[in-house]
């Protein structure tokens, strides 16, 4: 497997697309798809990864239809599997989880908190 910087993976269009979808699916109060997060965390092989993504998309589509949410593009799906082939499951998974941690901008329904210093 070739070497790649995690930051390059993070900035890859396919990861961005899937990452923001994962973020929405996990952090939107109405969806909160923890099951996909847990499944993704334990993925080891390419086959398991593909299966997890499939399940995740199936769950997400149901909510996306109801709430008119954006869904990942088909080329992003191809792109993400190519990245898994090239760099392995672990790095792609880390890049995806990193997107789920990002403070969302514009996704109004997401469960957002913090952002001030009153927690000291």
């Amino acid at each position: 497997m070739s070497e790649v910087k995690l930051s390059d993976l993070f900035a890859h269009d396919a990861i961005k697309d899937f990452g923001s979808t994962l973020r929405r699916a996990i952090r939107m109060k109405e969806i909160q798809d923890y099951a996909s997060l847990v499944e993704l965390e334990y993925v080891e092989s390419k086959e398991e990864f593909a299966e997890t993504i499939k399940k995740f998309l199936r769950r997400y589509h149901t909510h996306a239809k109801k709430r008119h949410l954006t869904i990942p593009k088909e080329e992003s799906l191809d792109g993400i599997m190519e990245l898994v082939d090239k760099y392995g499951v672990k790095l792609v998974r880390t890049a995806l989880i990193s997107h789920a941690l990002v403070k969302s901008a514009g996704d109004g329904n997401e469960h957002e908190k913090g952002g001030n210093n009153n927690d000291r």
């Binding site: 995690l6 941690l101 927690d119």
Partner: protein, 350 residues
């Protein structure tokens, strides 16, 4: 003028001697004379400072007042013995002839010789000084406490002075004490005095020794960054935090852990993007404050592991835990701004 502090291999003792000498030079220099700096040159610490020809030793008097950390430097001793030891250090340093001789000795780059006047190196001064570390304590016929380690009294006095004024002490429940001192790569003494005082005022995470060290490292580097940002052309660089942890068992203090905690990753972040690194340090400090709560230890532990070993495995471990807390309504933890995550991932090591 260049002064040399030859290393003995006892990390904390060596660095405290360098700080002690730096403090003496800084206190004795006249207004406008060369400022004192310390840099790590491999086998010795190089202390650059003013050439002191007529030391005004009265200037050193305030550094021996008993209201500082002296009781922690001599933690294993009772109050009376502690005061006695402070006085011994004082008579070595605040003595015109002796201090001139000490400064003269440090102008030469020579190996440490076996000294004639010796003092005990206590475990609170360097964890390797602990009795029983170097000899078998249980022998066939008898039990021995082990022998204490003796070092040259001049070196001992400088180390005690350096530790009293530059070490950061972290208590945990009155039964555990950790002494932490940053290892200088290139540091100005007058800066370090201010940085140390400011960092010492801030509360740190006490979940575990590594969490304390990681949080302290972040606060330290954050302070260095802020000084640099405020227009100071000199950036103080520390290479790691040297620490020695002790726990009290009954009436005796025993060594718990000792070692070095790397801070180079935090400097990498500053060098990569000074602006964003400030936001990252602020956020991590917030995470450590959140992680200090009961039941949230995994947050502090995974983040401290990542700060020490910034690999893709450790970041994934930490991000998973952070995400879990982000999804809990009762935990006021913040999400990451996009640019901060990018910057962190850019500096992760493979």
């Amino acid at each position: 003028m260049q002064y040399y502090v030859m290393k003995t291999g006892m990390e904390m003792f060596d660095v405290c001697r360098a700080y002690g000498l730096g403090l003496v030079l800084d206190a004795l220099r006249e207004e406008g004379e060369e400022v004192t700096s310390i840099s790590d040159s491999g086998i010795y610490y190089s202390v650059e400072g003013a050439e002191i020809t007529k030391p005004e030793i009265d200037k050193l008097e305030p550094y021996f007042s008993l209201d500082t950390s002296w009781n922690k430097v001599f933690l294993t001793l009772g109050r009376a013995s502690c005061n006695k030891k402070v006085n011994i250090a004082k008579t070595i340093i605040i003595n015109k002839d002796k201090i001139s001789q000490i400064l003269e000795n440090h102008k030469k780059c020579v190996a440490v010789k076996d000294p004639s006047n010796k003092e005990t190196l206590y475990q609170s001064m360097d964890i390797v000084g602990t009795k029983g570390y170097r000899v078998p304590v249980r022998r066939k016929a008898k039990y021995t406490e082990g022998s204490s380690m003796k070092v040259a009294s001049e070196d001992w006095a400088l180390a005690a002075l350096g530790e009293a004024h530059f070490s950061i002490w972290i208590w945990k429940g009155g039964k555990a004490l950790t002494s932490i001192i940053p290892k200088p790569e290139r540091v100005l003494i007058m800066h370090w005095k201010d940085i140390r005082n400011s960092v010492d005022q801030m509360g740190v995470n006490r979940t575990s020794i590594s969490a304390t060290l990681a949080h302290l490292a972040i606060l330290l580097v954050k302070e260095v960054r802020e000084r640099k940002k405020s227009g100071d052309p000199f950036m103080d660089v520390f290479s790691s935090l040297i620490y020695g942890a002790m726990t009290k068992t009954g009436n005796q203090w025993k060594p718990a852990r000792g070692g070095m905690f790397p801070v180079d990753f935090l400097y990498d972040l500053i060098r990569s993007d000074s602006e964003i690194s400030g936001d990252i340090f602020e956020l991590w400090s917030h995470v450590f404050r959140i992680g200090n709560g009961k039941g949230r230890e995994d947050l502090s532990l995974t983040l401290s592991e990542f700060v020490a070993y910034p690999t893709s495995e450790s970041i994934e471990k930490y991000f998973k835990v952070h995400l879990r807390y982000l999804l809990q309504d009762d935990v006021p933890i913040r999400a990451y701004p996009d640019e901060c995550i990018k910057e962190i991932l850019k500096n992760v090591r493979s």
